[in-house]
Assembly symmetry: C2
Homo-oligomer: 381 residues x 2
Amino acid sequence: MFDFVFHNPTKIVFGRRQEETIGEELKNAGMRRVLFIYGRNSIKRSGLFDRITASLDRSGISYVEYGGVVSNPVLSHTRQGVELARREGVEAVLAVGGGSVLDEGKAIAVGALADDDVWNYFTGKEVAGALPVFTVLTLAATGSEMNGNAVVTNEETRQKYNIGSPHVYPRVSILNPELTISVPRDYSAYGAVDAIAHVIEGYFTRQAGSHLQDRLVEGIIKTVIETSNVIMREPDNYPARAEFMWAATLALNGLTTAGLREYSFPNHMIEHSLSAIYNIAHGAGLAIVMPAWMKWYSARAPERFARFAREVFGREGAAAGISALEEWFAAIDAPVRLGEVNIPAGDIDMIAANAAALASKWGIGDLYRREVIAEILQLAV
Amino acid sequence: MFDFVFHNPTKIVFGRRQEETIGEELKNAGMRRVLFIYGRNSIKRSGLFDRITASLDRSGISYVEYGGVVSNPVLSHTRQGVELARREGVEAVLAVGGGSVLDEGKAIAVGALADDDVWNYFTGKEVAGALPVFTVLTLAATGSEMNGNAVVTNEETRQKYNIGSPHVYPRVSILNPELTISVPRDYSAYGAVDAIAHVIEGYFTRQAGSHLQDRLVEGIIKTVIETSNVIMREPDNYPARAEFMWAATLALNGLTTAGLREYSFPNHMIEHSLSAIYNIAHGAGLAIVMPAWMKWYSARAPERFARFAREVFGREGAAAGISALEEWFAAIDAPVRLGEVNIPAGDIDMIAANAAALASKWGIGDLYRREVIAEILQLAV
């Protein structure tokens, strides 16, 4: 256990129909006017939009509607949202959707209080403040509902970069597992891959830590696998959707990395380039990158990988654990090779150059040089 | 997973020498004058008192000193603290010590803002507010550093009752494992028993829940056992003290019970009577009560107890798991029978009557009638 600060002030309201309390939560927090940000019009067809606006109306909260967030949210739409938030004088951001909507909502919350371009905060400028963020989650995967991270893609420069700041922890996040029942099979699988990716980065790359975090991680992975197997068979199984949803939140809310030292996020680093360049789903990209990275990295941490194989899959040996994970990704129909998402092997050098820039930004450029990233990606051909 | 609200806003600052930052934390929170509450004078001999007051001085925080909190903190001393806090116009409570000091500090924080007797809030009146609470923890056990609970004993009526309120979550808790190295062997063992007691109550008594919480609980128990075995041999082993400290915090910060339904705290209910009447250490009382309660209860939840035996101890069958836990308590020299702390079997009816009153207050009086509690205690003779 190494020195750490753990401070996660997000209030989680978990359960059926809880989105109907969002107006009250906003009112209790003193908010009167919000930017209501969402993605596609499916929230109107499903009735979710109406339930939320009815809740806002009951509590006397006015709102400015801002739809159209895309998966892998983009800077241009974020900038327009910042302009809208400033012009309309909203007091908070209400993000209703999956991780993409939440992340763009957080970015707009930062931009609305800044007097310069919001992209500056993705390239290194420290976030000085943000509008309060409130969320209603409709897809369990990214953990954005209970952390201070946001990822946005600059589509001009093909940079998928992130903000990390205490200012963008949501004040309140409403998690109703019923809302995730309509998530299609492929995105349910990608969510599972994403949640696993969030916990294995620290687990494998940490230079020191403790068994307590190991056990948290192993418990989350086993839960994700177990509940996803049920969800693949029975998409409307509420208990499985619920348990998965909370596991995905705990996977990236700071708990699994509290007390670790010198860990990094190489799988996310490489995947960000895949989805920035090819606009594939983040979870799909991670399913391709992770087995490749693990095969390349396992010799550097053989004890960690042997433990993973034993505790998560009941198998012996690093290679057996990696195979088991890769087989499970394939079993839930997540892609595990670049060709499955139509990325040609000939692009690897170009992808590696893109990823190497992010590696430098994240301070792991010494290990993850361009040629090393290319070597890892070759294992995914 | 059942509906729940999880909201734990306490900031944890964890690591070596972190107590020297307490002045800055108070200043950043806008505090200028605090009630500095502690237990025995050992914090002066150890130099901790001076390090903290130096930190307060550096940040321009004035303080009113209030020592003398006893283990199983008592109402009379709490009331005096409330008077002092009101008279001196402090803006916050700074509690430096173990769970007893933190709990009395929380009670004083409630009483200082109330216009009636603080005991009213232990007997059922809802807490409407409290001074902000800041803590420096010197003994890992109760979890009070990251929750909204406080237990105080009314020594006139021999009632050991509790407050549970969002108002008494500490704003900041500083956890320096070095400060726990001087905890004597017996209290280190009681701390381990207490942390285990906090997680097993929900684990065994819940009417419904999920494997995610089960795995969190099992991971915490295995960590507590593993690190305590090291601490018993090497009291100054920092990594073991650190891992134990964080495990004890996670054991009662709301995570292990989020999403459970209809769970209760029968072991704490019975133990509160033992320590209220005989003033024994809470952890010692729990080590006596738990094996007895488990033997009595296990037939009601055979699958839960079989899982406990298998996952925590690698044994088969409910009885084997209970024996393993009892043997481990004995191995770390925690008492497992009433006679070991000089409580005569002839007192059982009187103890049961005291506990039955708390059972009613906690809404579990239908199951835990006086004669049932006596039957459980007979198993500890």
